[in-house]
């Protein structure tokens, strides 16, 4: 590897600050650089060209491009949990202590075992893997694929959690300008002049685009000078927001766009101060102006991927911006005038240079100037071969041959010594964002490329992005479009329009397309004309795909993987189409183009998640008693958004033991449950009863004031979706209880019916779940506890029977007390305004002390209800279960002409008598607890498959009955009462008898006690 001093003198490199040295390391090697360098420029300045190895053939690769189009120089930056793979060296801004590593090579960059693939490349044409690796079958997973996986994959993932933060910001603007080159700045100025709120963003740290490497003047000053002045003015303007290091990654429907701002990557010190690493801008723009510029095309000549072969514009930029020479003696290979500026710049820097131009006649201004400057121009010729040092690490020379479009074979060759090549095959407007939501494009013969045509959204393209490459044209276009956008956003604005500045620039001669430069010998015989550098796709691969019938460009793409690398075809796409067109005799438009998809350039997942991770990922709801539960070391379980206490183990108490203790306390004395999560919805209005009659399967209009009734809710398919007790508070006023998880769903659902179906109903639906804390006091001693709280509260069976409600005061607490039971015991549910909840809770505990009141959790609750054979929505039901299936036919009204789900219950399959029906199960061995979801089979076989006839829906060991109990949905279960079923488990078969599902207190004596 050469180590000539590549850094040029003071007169070159306006972007770097030579007074500020920056130290960094590349592959462990300490290197010096300057503030303003990119990793690419700094490493090259240190005389190193090879940055990485290619994906398939592991060929050594150097820098080709200038920014986000770079496809070769991919590096990993940062260490440990701050490592980030696959960054483009051309975009990594240098900072002190930056640590970078090359990728996809072993053991080292200069010597890589994987490069054996290159020697054998003949055996790996495009799509070869579809044709082999099939024998023996098991080798695919055991040998071939593991090898492929290890070989593939470029960089390494970081280890550990990301220590940095990310944020989102929503922005609305009148005009968003994407791209801060001359055209973008002009458009922004024109738009802003009308008073419109403008956002202008650019991917790079500096604005100006190519201004600093393009010829021509604006109002008499150099383009870059003009650009810098404009940026200054815009950033000072009230109504303009200027964003650098900000990539527009995509355009979505209705002009919503995502901008990706790299806030702190260039200066880690910011992170220490709490700055987010990246910021995601969610922009809604009335008007969008794309000034995204164009991307230079490489040329497909033999071995065009050698380190030292760059795009002409990039070579020029390294020279002028960073004062870095691409080599000591070079060659410019072009089919257009623009590249002559590179030749001139090189010459000016004292670097020896020749121009090889595929066009036979070049006499426009730039070439003439070049000739005058003493640059040799070889017109009508092309590069036929590239010679390189051992291992292809460096260019040593080229063979140039006469070129006439269409004529294939090379006859005579001239050898020229050089150590770098600057190539330019023309320019492609950056159409990506234009196309993200389906903007139309058309092929432009002069550009030999696609350009924007029409778009259904309010979006326009200007300058190079629109195919307008000449400075004058670009400026006129930009000012006109900018002004129009401003006007469209603010029709009434009377603001003065800025005058369009005067542009002066050499007229350039048209390019001639050069999709393929013939090589010594036939190109498919060993010479590699790379189209997609990173994925190692050659012209031969594309041509082979065509011959094999993968004719659609999408087929070719997927078969050869061209355009699928991390640059998403920025430099390869059109060259590929060109090659395909010539191979098939079609035109490029006939070949068609693959779809542009977001993002324009890759952006971090962290920025997409933004702050919504860890604690902020999803909200958690807590009841007013949550802190108390925590203080008692309760185990919690998530139910919907809620955290509910599952059980309250005492120190050194097993989970099962504490659950049993809680259950027995309820059965034998009294228990206390925090039921605050229970859904509560107030339903008020003259038609409240009518609404309830529609949404519940049973009748509610007949419910007496002050009474409670258990109701079943079906969806329109006839399947159970919710249940609960509803209370009539007044003639036109009800309080509906729903499941904890279903509360929000049900209230929204009621609203939907009211607003969209029974629009004439006069009803208000108000979710009040969080307005109330609600506790169940359950057990034989429940009444005594309440008496302790307030001796005056009337609790006698006569005055306050089961399924009734009393409003009043318990001590100083305003309460609603419902005599309802989900445990089968004498039970009162006390509702109190949420803010008083904790107070009452504590007083209940004190009042209950003498009765040994025990707080119980959700698991005890579930066992208690199972002992009584009560269903739980989501356990006994799964969205395919009807009220009839669970044996609640009694709650399906025969009187009501219509309620939700009624008609569906009539459908043949729902009426069948052999449907799965809810039954109780008692295992033969009382200590054997059936697993949840275990299936019963028609007949036990020695091996599967076996015909399944139903499954366990709930299964517990009942401390009350000192045996296991279960509920199950079994085909024609009710007709099988007394039958014994077999449940084949792993290694054993459990037998259980079908019984009634009510295991405890069938006559409900406890309940009414």
């Amino acid at each position: 590897m050469t180590s000539k001093p590549y850094r040029l003198g003071e007169s070159f490199g306006h972007a770097i600050d030579r007074s500020r040295r920056v130290n960094f390391s590349f592959d462990g090697k300490q290197m010096p650089g300057y503030a303003g360098d990119t990793l690419a420029s700094a490493v090259m300045a240190n005389g190193q060209r090879v940055f990485g190895r290619s994906f398939k053939y592991h060929r050594p690769r150097g820098v080709v491009g200038l920014g986000s189009e770079e496809m070769n120089a991919l590096v990993g930056v940062g260490e440990g949990s701050r490592h980030e793979p696959n960054l483009r060296a051309t975009q990594v801004e240098l900072h002190d202590g930056l640590v970078a590593v090359s990728q996809n090579r072993w053991p080292s960059l200069s010597f890589d075992i994987g490069s054996i693939n290159n020697t054998l490349s003949r055996f790996f044409p495009g799509g070869f893997y579809y044709k082999t690796f099939m024998w023996p079958q098991k080798f695919w997973m055991s040998v071939y694929e593991p090898f492929i996986r290890r070989a593939a994959g470029l960089g390494k993932a970081p280890d550990g959690c990301d220590p940095d933060t990310y944020e989102h910001i929503h922005a609305h603007c009148d005009v968003l300008v994407v791209g801060g080159g001359v055209a973008g700045l002009a458009a922004a100025e024109a738009a802003a002049a009308s008073g419109a709120r403008v956002i202008i963003c650019d991917e790079n740290p500096q604005f100006g685009g190519w201004a600093d490497i393009a010829d021509g003047t604006i109002d008499g000053v150099a383009q870059s000078e003009w650009a810098q002045a404009k940026v200054q003015r815009l950033s000072e303007a009230e109504n303009v927001h200027v964003l650098s290091r900000t990539t527009c990654v995509g355009h979505w429907q209705h002009n919503s766009l995502i901008l990706f701002e790299r806030v702190a990557d260039h200066d880690p010190a910011l992170l220490a101060r709490g700055t987010p690493r990246h910021r995601l801008w969610k922009v809604r723009a009335r008007q969008v102006i794309l000034a995204t510029g164009s991307i230079e095309r490489p040329i497909a000549f033999a071995n065009n991927d050698r380190p030292g072969i760059m795009l002409a514009g990039a070579a020029r930029a390294f020279l002028t911006r960073y004062g870095v020479a691409p080599g000591s003696s070079g060659l410019v290979f072009t089919n257009n005038d623009d590249a002559y500026q590179t030749a001139l710049a090189l010459k000016q820097a004292g670097i020896q240079v020749r121009v090889v131009d595929s066009r036979s006649h070049v006499d426009s201004q730039l070439p003439t100037t070049a000739r005058k400057a003493g640059i040799e121009i070889m017109a009508g010729s092309a590069i036929a071969a590239v010679e390189s040092s051992f291992g292809g690490l460096d260019v040593t020379g080229v063979k140039v041959a006469p070129y006439r479009k269409g004529s294939g074979r090379v006859i005579t060759e001239t050898r020229i010594e050089c150590d770098f090549i600057a190539m330019s095959g023309g320019f492609n407007p950056a159409l990506h964002i234009w196309c993200h939501t389906g903007g139309k494009i058309r092929f432009d013969e002069a550009l030999q490329s696609f350009r924007p045509d029409t778009h259904h959204d309010r979006i326009a393209a200007v300058g190079a992005a629109n195919g307008t490459l000449a400075l004058g044209g670009a400026l006129n276009e930009a000012y006109a479009v900018g002004e129009a956008a401003g006007k469209a956003a603010l029709p009434k604005s009377k603001a003065a329009r800025p005058k369009v500045p005067k542009a002066l620039q050499e007229v350039q001669q048209a390019l001639e397309s050069l999709w393929f430069s013939p090589a010594t010998g036939k190109y498919n015989e060993g010479n590699k004309h790379f189209i997609d550098f990173q994925n190692d796709v050659t012209a031969a691969d594309l041509e082979l795909a065509q011959r094999e019938g993968y004719e659609s460009v999408e087929h070719t793409k997927r078969y050869t993987t061209f355009g699928m690398a991390t640059d998403q075809g920025k430099t390869s796409n059109l060259n590929g189409l060109g090659v395909l067109a010539e191979a098939t005799g079609k035109t490029i438009p006939q070949i068609g183009i693959t779809t542009f998809r977001p993002p324009y350039t890759p952006f971090s997942f962290g920025s997409v998640a933004g702050p919504m991770t860890r604690q902020l990922f999803l909200p958690i709801r807590r009841t007013p008693i949550y802190e108390w539960h925590k203080s008692q070391a309760a185990q919690f379980e998530p139910i919907g958004q809620w955290r509910r206490a599952y059980t309250y183990p005492k120190p050194a108490e097993e989970k099962q033991a504490s659950i049993a203790r809680e259950i027995l306390a309820v059965r034998n004395s009294v228990g206390l449950l925090d039921a605050s999560t229970l859904g509560k919805i107030e339903i008020k209005g003259p038609d409240a009863a009518a609404l309830l009659d529609r949404v519940y399967s049973n009748m509610f209009s007949t419910l007496k004031i002050g009474r409670c009734r258990y109701g079943l809710m079906m969806n329109e398919l006839g399947f159970l979706i919710d249940d609960g007790v509803t209370v009539r508070l007044g003639e036109d006023h009800f309080l509906m209880h729903t499941t904890s998880g279903g509360a929000d769903r049900v209230s929204a659902w009621l609203e939907e019916w009211l607003q969209t179906e029974w629009t004439d109903y006069k009803v208000f639906v108000t979710p009040v779940t969080e307005q109330w804390a609600q506790f169940a006091i359950a057990g034989p001693k429940a009444r005594d506890v309440l008496r302790r709280l307030d001796p005056d509260f009337e609790l006698s069976n006569e005055a306050f029977p089961h399924l009734s409600m009393k409003e009043g005061h318990l001590g100083r607490y305003p309460v609603r007390v419902f005599r309802i039971s989900f445990s089968g015991e004498l039970s009162y549910e006390v509702a109190v305004p949420a803010n008083l909840g904790r107070g009452l809770w504590d007083e209940i505990l004190t009042a209950g002390q003498d009765f040994g009141i025990t707080v119980y959790g959700t698991e005890a609750l579930h066992v208690l209800r199972a002992e009584k054979g009560y269903i739980v929505i989501g356990d006994e039901t799964d969205g395919t279960v009807t009220p009839v299936d669970v044996g609640l036919d009694g709650l399906v009204s025969k009187k009501k002409s219509d309620f939700i789900g009624k008609r569906s219950l009539e459908q043949s399959f729902l009426k069948r008598t052999d449907r799965k029906q809810l039954v109780g199960l008692l295992t033969e061995d009382p200590s054997e607890v059936l697993p949840d979801g275990a299936y019963a089979v028609q007949e036990v076989k020695d091996k599967p498959p076996m015909e399944m006839i139903g499954q366990v829906t709930s299964s517990y060991f009942s401390p009350t009955l000192q045996r296991s109990i279960a509920m199950a949905l079994i085909q024609s279960g009710r007709a099988r009462m007394g039958e014994t079923l077999s449940f084949p488990l792993d290694g054993k078969v459990v037998k259980a008898k079908i019984v009634d599902q009510v295991f405890y207190d069938k006559e409900g004596a406890q309940l009414n006690g």
Binding site: W252, Q253, H254, S256, R284, T437, G438, H456, E716, L717, A748, E751, E752, Q755, T756, E757, W758, T759, S897, D898, K902, R903, S904, E906, Q907, S908
Partner: protein, 117 residues
């Protein structure tokens, strides 16, 4: 991302501030005549959808705003909204006329009714 406009409260916002709920103008047979509904009618009500490529009429809810349900006319190919109207209303006449596929049959009598008025 769709920008949605609520015709009830006037709020304009991202699709995430709203709730999309599928095809509009589906009539629930049981509300009209609970006694005589064939299995096929019930199936059509519950499952059969017009699902056109192009102009479509659908239901939305102003989730983060007034909470009201409303209707929207949207092109399912370009994602463009053509109109927002109340949950109790029919689409603007010209849109009923532009409707294609199975919507045509649905709007035919509505348009006739509108004419006779």
């Amino acid at each position: 991302m769709l920008i949605v406009h609520c015709p009830v409260c006037g709020a304009e916002g991202d699709e995430t501030d709203f709730h999309a709920a599928g095809e509009a103008h589906i009539r629930r047979p049981a509300t009209l005549d609970p006694e005589h509904i064939s299995d096929e009618q019930q199936r059509d009500y519950l499952f059969m959808r017009r699902n056109p490529k192009g102009l479509h009429f659908e239901r939305w809810r102003c989730d983060r705003g007034c909470g009201k349900w409303f209707h929207a006319a949207r092109d399912t190919a370009t994602m463009e909204f053509k109109a927002f109207y109340l949950a109790t209303e029919l689409p603007p006449r010209e849109l009923m006329e532009q409707a294609t596929g199975e919507w045509v049959t649905f709007f035919k009598d509505k348009l006739k009714a509108a004419k006779t008025k």
